[in-house]
Every structure is written in C-alpha cells, then in structure tokens.
Point group: C2
Chain length 489, copies 2
C-alpha cells in the first residue's frame, strides 16, 4: 500500500472541503444567525489538517494500484463526513456528534435521510452547507479533484471507484477533461434549475426565495433530498413541484447522454439502452400507481392532480432523491410495493442517482435469460448487447457479484436494525432507503416527512455505513473493511 | 417437441398416482367416514386417463431433448395436482376446487400451506392422502418413475429437472439404480421415524396413534408440514416434538451423505462442504434466537425449554417443513428476521427440503468473494472448490441466474399479492413461504397455526404457481411458460 500517496491525496481532498466551506461562510455572513464561527472554524481545521497531510507527498513512488485507489476513495469519504459534521455539532444545532455525522453522511451520499425534526430552526449558513453537501457528493468530491489536479494515469481507479454504474465510459481520452466536462454539465444544469425556480417567482407562478431555489436545486442535482422545510416540498406551489420533478428525472440520466447531445451525436443518444428502460419504467410506474390510487378511492378526486403528485413521487424515488409532496406511506400496498421496487432499481449509471442502477438491472435480467437459453442449448454462445455494443464478460460477472454483495449487506443491516423492534416494514425500508441513498422510507415511521432520530445508536451507525456502501457502490468500502487488504504482502 | 413421448410419460405418471391412491382407499375402508367413493373414483379417473395417454407411446422416435424433459416435468406436476385435488373436492371436504388445488399443490410441493381452518373435521382417508402427497412430492414422483420404469439415457433430464440443488450427482453410473437407492434410503428413514414415534407411545413418553405417526412422518420426510391437528405439533408431547426435530433436520441433509455412510465412505462425508455449513447455520440460529428470546423476556423462563422450542422452529423453517410448536409470529423482530433468512436459505441440495439450498448460498458468497479478488488482481485466476472438488463454471453461472430469476419471481408475486392489502409483511412472507415451500409465514395472519383461506383467488393462483416454481427449482416452469418453447423451430 502506498500510504504516503494516499495521505497526500486525502490532504488535497480536505483542503478542497476547506475551500468549499467558504461558500456557507458567506451565507452565514449575510444572514448573521450565529453559525459563522462554527463554519469558519471547520474550514480552518480542514485546511490545516489537509495542508499537513499534503506534506507527506511521496518524492519517488507515486504509483497507485487498484487497492490503493479503492482505499483512498473510501477513506476520503469517511474523512469528509467526520469533518463536515463539525459545523452542525460545534454550533449546537445538532447536539449529538453521531447525529451530526449521520446528517453529513446523508448529505454527501445524497441520501437525504434526516435526523432533524424541525428543519426551519437551523441557521441559514448551516442549511446551505447541508444542501451543498448533496451537490458536492452527487458528482463526487474526487471527480472534482480530478478536474483540478493534474494526476498520473492511475487516476482512472479513483473515477472508477467513485462513479456510479457497472462500467465507466471515458467521454474523452483524457481523464481530467472528462471530469471537467462532467462538472461543467452538472454546474450548468443546476444553474438552469435555479433559473427556472426564479422565473416562476418573477412571473407569479409560485413564491420561492433565491435561498430556497439554490438549496432545492442542490438537492435535486445531487438527487439528495434535503429540503429547507419540515414538510418537504408540500408547501411549495405546483409550478415549483413540477420544475423539481423534471429536474430530478433529468439528473437521473447518464451524463454522457448530455455530452452526446452537446456534441450532436444523436445516434448515440437514440442507441442508449438504459435511457429507454429508465423512461419506460418511469412512465409505467406512474400509470400503475395512478390507476391504483384512482381505483382505490379516497386519495385523489382529480386525475390531473393524481398524475402530478404520482409523477413527483415516482421521479423522487427512482432517482433516489426522496423529496415528498404527499405522504405516500398512506398509499395502498400495491403502490408502496412499486415504490420500494423503484427504490431498489434506482436511476441510470453515470448519473447522480443511487440504487442498483437501471443498467445493472437490465444486465442481470439479460444474464438470467441467456442462462435459460444455455440450459436448453449448452453449446450455443450468446452475446449480450447494450447500447448496440457487446457487454464485456467482466462487467457481467461483476454485476452478479454486485447483486450478491448488495443482498448480503442489506440482510446483515436489516438483522442489526431489527434489534430496535420498530416493525419489519420500518427495518427493511429504512435499510433500503439508506443503502440505495433515497432517504425517506415508505413505512409509517419514516415516511417522506418523518425523521431518523428515533433509531438507536447502533442502527444509526449501520445506516451511516449503508449510505457509504451505497454511494460508493459497495466495492471500495468492502475492500477497505476486508482484513486481507491490511495484511502485509 | 416430442409430444407423443411427453404424453406417454405423463400417462405413466398418472397411472402411478392412480396406484398410489389405493393406499388412502385402504385407510378410508378402515375408518369408514364416507371418503371412500371420492378416493376410489379419482383413482379410476387417473388410471383411465393415464392408460389412454400411454397408448400414444411413440413407435420410433423416443429421443427426448432437454426442453422436452423440462416441459414433461412441469406438466406432470400440474397434472397430478389438478387430479390429486379431486378427492377433497368430490367429497366436499374442501368445497372450492381452487382451494382443493391449492391444498394439493401445497402437499406435492411439500409446502404445507393450508387453506383448512379445522383439520380435525376431515375424514381419515383424505387426511392420509393429504400427508401422503408430501411424501410422494418430497423425493419426487418422477424419481419414483425412474426407479421402476426402464428408460433410455436421456432420463437424466427428468432427474435434473426434479431434483433440488445446483448440480445432480449420480451416485452410481446407472440412473435407475440411483433412483432406487434414493427411494430406498427415503423409505427406510421414514419407517425409522414412525418406529421412533411408536416406541415413545409404547414407553409412555407421549401418546401418539399409528395414524398420526405415519402422517407426521410423511410430513417430516417430505419436509412438508401438513399436520393432522389445527394446532400443528403444539399438543403433542415433547418427546414427539424432539423426534420430529431430529427427523426434519435429517431429511434436510443431502441424501448422498447417507449413501456414503452406507458405503462406509466416511472421507466423502467429512469433505461435504454443504453439510458443515448446514449444521453450523442451524447451531448459530438456535443460539442467536434463544439468546434474543431469553434477553427480551416474556417468552421462556427456562433455557432448556427455550432451546427445545427454538430448535424445533429453526429445524422446521430451515428444512422448509413448517411445523410449529409455538407461535413464533409473536417473537421479537430479530428472531423473526433470522427465521425469514433461514426460510430463504433452505436445506441442503439433494434433500427433500426447499429454499435456495445451502450449497447455492455458499456458491453465491464464494462467487462474490472471488469477484472482489478479481477486481484487485484482474489477471489472477481463482478456482472455486466445493467438497474438495473444483466447481464447474456452468454451475456458477447457473447459480447466479437462479438468484436473479428467484428475485424476479418473488418481486412479481409480491406485487400481485399486495393487491389484497393485507400488509407488507403478510404479502412478503406469504410469497416467500410458498416460493420456498415452507408453508407458514412469520406474519401475524399466517403464523404457524394460521391458514391461507383468506387470500383472494388471484393471490391463491399466484401462490400455487410459486409453490410449483419453488419445488421444481424455477427452470422447468420458466421453460414451460416461455413463449419461444412453443414456437415451431
């Protein structure tokens, strides 16, 4: 293990977090609500610690192997979570440090699960930092670092370890350029959403302050789900809700699709297998749940209104954002079952969304189907295709392994959380909601407007780990915790 | 498709069922409770129909391909279920034919899920038939046919399709001899259990009639779970319960282990990977649940008593029998979560138990672990071993596909059953209990003493299919229902 190189890069990440903390510092200066000191102090701590670690920069051996890359990514996410939690705790807005870490991990991993019961009581600087963690975590802190720091060729491991999806497609040959393009699209789309909110405010389609616009846009862009109100998005106008629906669904699309659009490579967009399934699943789920709600009765009287709220909920859950306009925990069982499935399915690979990812689900179903064929015709060789190209055997094997680890981690977590005795549905959905980086579960206790504050410390630790496992797509964290990683070779 | 050959073999199976029905006919003659006619009539129908179908015996082309074998197995299980349900319906003991089919499928697939609320009201002949379906279905009707009918070499497909587990090990080179050995061991062990019950009755360790002994032994041997009392095994003495515990766990072991014991090949028994895991899981689960119950308080005051009932429940659930001595649906959440996991895990391959099978779980975990290794060292080649031998690549791929199909079928079933709005826990556990051939779920509605009569017709059809999917290990039924199976090539 190249410890010096890992420490050096970790230091760089902390330095960046220190710099990013200056944004909420500015917000705290504007509002003057007593959160300035805690934010500034944390920025200084990050910068100092980061600077010291950067002194460890190795003089000769700068090579990084796959293992080093995975360990570095896991460690940096743990470090930024532990340090990013400081402002909430130092300020006293969240009295328990464990709760503060839970909230910060939930932010960076774009989960959006909150232990807060009264969001409005928090100072604006801290609220801004809370939503900003979504934005940073959505595209990834290390991807940002790759965009600004010139690193050697091995940096592909970092991108691989932090980017969602079964395979990483470099858009352009140079890693640094790819990272820059990703952040460029991300930044522009976020600005567009803020602009859409403000346009509505100007035209009288629904009041929303600039602060709220920025925070909600951060939450949608990172598909996080932290709101600035305890009632989620229920109190905003239907224009604001519609903008958010469109925003969430757009941020759940693989960013390479937008890159192809910019480059006018429309053929590649049309060929994108995952995009077709993603949109088909959304449309199918909206139709099914709307029908279920209208036929059951007692939920919506007007179909248009039903479609509006169901689209929002489906978009919110499949992209693993977790915003809510209505309390879907009271919906009939079929609708809730569909929402849980969307939770697990998740958004597209290469997006900011969580979950298994649509492409993984597609690969798994195709794997199973081709195995059935193989059973009947043992000598036939079938080629699996995605986006018109042959899928690599390693990707297929890796996807099966991903599913198995996913199940194992979920199972162990559910067993541990069930010690709280909150009921099976709560245990299962809270684990799925954190592992898939959704936030709100579909149970009564942790519906879209419920909090996670009631869980025991053990359950909170389990869920913190689940959020990190989910955001980093299992393997980096598995490698970090595997004893043989730390054995001398 | 070789339709004539399939029809011929199907006819043979029906003829066998007609012959087997003579046993409950004798019981009905002894007790004289008015169920004689319905049983006799069904036997005649089976024999007549079977005889007619056997006339289709092909003169020349007797070859069977894999597809023919899978289709034949699925069809024969559907046929014997539809015909085996007749006695219950004709007699009027189960007024609805759908319910009668549910009960019979539950019997043959060794599920043990019952729509009866008052078992004691049923005549003894029908009760015997109900338990006898467990015994026949446990080892398999087609395996029996293989033992008595001389068939050509392609009969391996039939054994493959009906025998549980990721790979079929022929104990001896000749298929027919293997089938004979399997049924020989099965018969002897069932007799042993009946003898143990009767010994206890003689020595005054607990009253149990010969009829009850036979039925309970059938239920344990097939790991089915139908009892002859509404209260399961709660009313029997603790000696009877202990005999049943040991019996269930023994029938959950791969039968080749017993064959090796008979042949004095002790090295092969010691090398059996699955057996070690199976016993370790049972011991671990008993320890965990006992600790959970004793620490929670309010369940057992005496550790010995707790271990007695927990061992029974764990043995009953992991072997997918489903007998109950206590109502574990009231146990704390951790214990119930462990039971659900045991349900899914299931017993050993090559036993009469259901579930995923311990060896599949072991292969899946090993697959995932080797993939993690592959991620770090892409050029390393790891060999997976079971029982000291290398696992075939096809088995590994097939096991991953099995897991994916298993999840897909469970998901679709849960969504359909959730239309009944009985609560998520009930929908999930009832689907898992039928798909894994357990019987009782762990929910409040369908605890070990609850029935399945309350579900809608749609849910019952879904569960009937789930039971067949589970017993035949997915692939035969998938191939039967795949449209391309029926397309002309």
């Amino acid at each position: 293990m190249n410890y010096r190189m890992i420490a050096y890069l970790l230091g760089y990440v902390l330095l960046l977090i220190g710099a990013f903390l200056l944004l909420p510092v500015i917000v705290a200066l504007i509002y003057g609500e007593g959160d300035l000191l805690s934010l500034l102090l944390t920025a200084v701590i990050c910068a100092a610690l980061g600077g010291m670690m950067m002194l460890l920069k190795p003089k000769r051996d700068r090579t990084m192997h796959a293992r080093d890359g995975f360990v570095m990514v896991s460690l940096s996410w743990i470090f930024i979570s532990l340090l990013g939690a400081l402002p909430f705790w130092l300020n006293g807005a969240i009295p328990s440090y464990l709760d503060a870490v839970f909230e910060t991990v939930s932010g960076f991993t774009t989960t959006g699960a909150s232990i807060l019961t009264h969001v409005e009581a928090m100072p604006h600087g801290l609220l801004f930092w809370r939503s900003f963690t979504h934005w940073l975590g959505g595209m990834g802190v290390l991807v940002f670092m790759l965009a600004v720091v010139p690193l050697s060729g091995e940096s592909i491991y970092l991108l691989k370890a932090e980017s969602p999806g079964p395979s990483v497609s470099k858009m352009v040959p140079k890693m640094r350029t790819t990272a820059k393009i990703l952040y460029g699209i991300y930044f522009a789309m976020t600005l567009l959403q803020i602009f859409a909110y403000q346009l509505g405010d100007l035209c009288g389609w629904g009041d929303i302050s600039l602060f709220d616009s920025v925070c909600l846009a951060f939450g949608s862009a990172g598909t996080g789900g932290f709101s600035v109100r305890s009632t989620g998005l229920a109190e905003y106008s239907s224009y604001v809700q519609t903008v958010t629906t469109v925003g969430m669904i757009m941020f759940g699309v693989n960013f390479s699709v937008y890159f192809f659009l910019i480059c006018r490579k429309f053929r590649l967009v049309r060929q994108n297998t995952e995009l077709k399934y993603y949109l088909a699943i959304i449309l199918g789920a909206v139709a099914l749940i709307t029908a279920n709600l209208m036929l059951t009765g007692g939920y919506f009287t007007d179909v248009r209104n039903a479609v509006h709220h169901v689209s929002f909920s489906v978009g919110s859950i499949i992209t693993t954002t977790g915003y809510g306009t209505v309390d879907f925990s009271t919906w009939p069982e079929l609708s809730r079952a569909v929402l849980v499935l969307l939770m697990i399915c998740g958004a597209c690979a290469g997006s900011t969304g969580g979950g298994l990812k649509v492409s993984r689900v597609v690969i798994l179903v195709k794997t199973a189907r081709s195995e059935l064929q193989h059973l009947l015709h043992p000598h036939s060789v079938e080629v699996m295709k995605m986006d018109g190209k042959r899928v690599d055997r390693d990707v297929i094997r890796g996807t099966s392994a991903y599913l198995i680890f996913y199940i194992l981690i979920a199972v162990v977590s559910i067993v541990l959380v069930s010690l709280d005795n909150f009921g099976t549905e709560t245990s299962v959905t809270s684990v799925l909601a954190t592992l898939n980086n959704i936030g709100p579960g579909t149970s009564i206790i942790i519906g879209p407007f419920g909090g996670y504050s009631g869980f025991s410390a053990l359950s909170k630790v389990v869920m913190i780990l689940d959020m990190l496992f989910g955001r980093l797509e299992l393997f980096p964290m598995l490698i970090l915790f595997r004893p043989s990683t730390w054995r001398k070779h």
